[in-house]
Symmetry: C2
Subunit: 456 residues, 2 copies
């Protein structure tokens, strides 16, 4: 693999110049005014991959931004196949948001590339593209088959890729899927995210009287829906921070000592937590570390609540109803649908006869857990050790990336979350940036990964 690394190193400046061209296209998917630019980014990517010698397709999505699919299957049907996922669309950005340099005029400064999409996700996905090019150009072939799928609506909540996976999943068949869209904590310590939580989101409305009442004329005789809702919500957790919904933890897999050791190796502790949240006292399940609570334990959160009069001033209203938005983050082996039913049953059980309930559903998403002892994960570990000079640690993420569950659960392909961004890269905010050192280390690591997978 030395020739590929040599090629990548010799082309470093050129690769970055190409990335700058890619970053210059304001492919803001959420804003209809930028539809032409999103298409321009798709075309740019199409041409770029084609010029690399890959078979490329631009797959039109009805009324939405196209998918770009590329492949090189020259390693033969006995060889391993690697699927690489990324997205070429970006979050909105205007200089007035607080950018020091124009967001769509990439600027290299003190070791970083500043531009919208630098880290999320153009910079990261481009590192994998360049790794493929480096191997292909230096060796004339790849050690394994390659499929690349890039979407253009990740930042606008689009789910066309999920639909494509359901309907054309066979085309994406592979031994492993590398997801480029992630992050690490520091540049020195590579991190592989090996779990994502699932989600169940819903809303409960507590209805009391048929209309808002004067709190003076009826207070003390009507069960105030805000109070009834508070009484219900206060019983959703035990005093020890655990969720009180019966059966909530039934399907949670207990952590093995090795898994706990893996999680404990993540370099993030209470002082990081305090700095990031501004809160003073942690809260939650005492028997689990902060990292375990975030990534390896399910939670129930109240995301919103409202009722009565909450503007400036005061109104002596006894409201007719009150609402709460509730979500659960779920871990591997939990079924979001089953959890939804359990939460609803428990809320119904808690609700007094003085009020009626109504539920609204805001969707579910499957959790993902990638075992760390499977061969492709071992290949990833090897790749980081070679590309970074350091063994990666495994982190269970608290959030959700729907595409990962789609790939792993629908296609049955193990996913490696090979994220090279840093949490501090300012993704979604002003002055988004990507470390130049990270970009080149990412290319090296991706090259190592292609060979390591082939060796398995």
């Amino acid at each position: 693999m030395t020739p590929a690394l040599d090629y990548a190193h010799s082309q470093a400046a050129h690769f970055r110049a190409q990335l700058h061209d890619f970053l210059r296209i304001p492919s803001v998917s959420a804003d209809p005014d930028y539809t032409v630019e999103v298409k321009r980014a798709a075309d740019w990517l199409f041409d770029h991959l084609k010029n690399m010698g890959l078979h490329v397709e631009l797959i039109e999505m009805a009324d939405r931004h196209p998918l770009i699919y590329a492949e090189w299957l020259g390693a033969g049907s006995d060889a391993k196949t690697v699927l690489i996922y990324g997205h070429y669309d970006v979050q909105p950005a205007i200089i007035e948001d607080g950018w020091d340099t124009p967001p769509f005029e990439p600027t290299e400064k003190e070791g970083f590339i500043y531009a919208r999409g630098a880290t999320d996700d153009k910079g990261q996905m481009f590192a994998h593209v360049k790794a493929v090019e480096a191997v292909l150009k230096s060796d004339g072939k790849l050690p394994c088959n390659i499929k690349l799928i890039f979407e253009g609506e990740e930042e606008s909540g689009g789910r066309h890729l999920a639909h494509f996976i359901k309907t054309h999943g066979k085309r994406l068949n592979a031994d492993v899927c590398v997801v480029s869209d992630g992050s690490m904590m520091t540049i020195d310590q590579p991190i592989i995210s090996n779990a994502l939580r699932g989600i169940m989101a819903m809303e409960v409305t507590v209805q009391g009287p048929t209309q808002d009442l004067h709190s003076g004329m009826y207070g003390g005789t009507v069960h105030n829906p805000l109070q009834a809702l508070a009484e219900i919500l206060a019983q959703l957790h035990h005093a020890d921070g655990s969720v009180a919904v019966p059966g909530f933890y039934d399907d949670v897999l207990p952590l093995t000592p090795q898994e706990r050791a893996e999680i404990a190796a993540v370099p993030w502790d209470i002082s990081d937590w305090q700095q990031e949240t501004g809160a003073t006292h942690p809260w939650g399940e005492n028997d689990f570390s902060l990292n375990e609570r975030i990534g390896a334990r399910p939670t129930l959160e109240i995301n919103g609540m409202a009722g009565g009069f909450y503007g400036n001033g005061f109104k002596t209203v006894l409201p007719a109803k009150a609402i709460a938005k509730i979500s659960c983050r779920l871990v591997a082996n939990q079924d979001p649908q089953k959890i939804q039913e359990q939460v609803i049953a428990y809320i119904r059980q808690l609700a007094p006869a003085t009020v009626t309930l109504e539920f609204k559903y805001h969707g579910t998403g499957q959790p993902v857990l990638v075992k760390t002892d499977i061969p492709v994960m071992q290949a990833a570990i090897q790749a980081y050790q070679r590309g970074w000079g350091a063994a990666p640690v495994f982190k269970r993420e608290g959030g959700s990336i729907p595409v990962v569950a789609d790939v792993q659960n629908t296609l049955g392909i193990p996913v490696i979350l090979m994220g090279f961004g840093l949490n501090s890269d300012g993704l979604h905010g002003p002055n988004e940036h990507f470390s130049i050192e990270m970009f080149h280390k990412a290319i090296d690591t991706s090259i190592h990964f292609l060979y390591a997978v082939a060796e398995q």
Copy 2:
């Protein structure tokens, strides 16, 4: 008093025509566009009272609507003095709100006068004015001294009258104050409201993390302020519906068997409650009847609550803060300031170390209780028996009328809430109306009251 009653009956149509003139003036105090009209109503009232032979003053209030003060002190310093309170301003009204007839073009239909202010308060206060006129015109004098104070900002939350009472209270000195601004339940059963609850209104903000957090990335480690607030609010009441704030009931006077019997005589029960609230199951202090809970017991209500995202859709936010607006309705002998301190101390005690609290204050008002065995109340009972042919029952109101506490507590004058409106008169809504029969019965009753007070 027969000549006065005869005069009032003979002038019935004329009195109503005068009331129509008064109602035609759109004296909407809350809307600056109507300032001229409010002044026109004040001038109309000034002239009207002057023509009746009273000494009248228009008292300008800085930047606000004037007070009208009138008096007839010809009964001499040994005679009793009656102070009559009313307000000549009205709520806003436009025909588009659902009025069947123009709100400022009084219309008599099926025994009712339809107009904004017909019942609240022009019609009611004018009945007392006409009673004074009937006695004065038919007898050439009054059996007691009379003071009338009419304000022009009752419907716009003005407190200039309170200031006037504090600074010029001596001018209003009297043996009894009749407040015209009230209501009864049915035309057949006269009701005297002999209690009003006081109020204490405040707001608590629960702050957790310094900014909104991603509920996936931090959920399960941060005490969600919405949850912390729900946990606090859920502990403000005991399961039996009583308020859990320590000391809350300390100063509440126990009800005597006679007082309970008085309250039980109010013709309003659970079927009325169900019809008015649309709720199915009553709630609150089981040891007290619905009427007792509303008028004779203090309460604590959550009037509003909000935090996180509560619009359409869903956001997985773990909010930095949550707020609740809380008010207490208080009964005689309770001190709003003391209750505020108790509520705050209790909330502070309930709050976990994971959050910080901030309080905002939205004002207090004193409770009022008028004993039913005092002479002026006996005079009122007599007046109703003569004017209505039925003995009044006593009702303790759940709401608050600040001026009543100002008069009774600041001036030390017992207040008789002689309301002739009906709850069903549509006050503050479209098609506000006042029963013609009620208007004339009110004049008769007010005439009887002047003589009954003089007899005491």
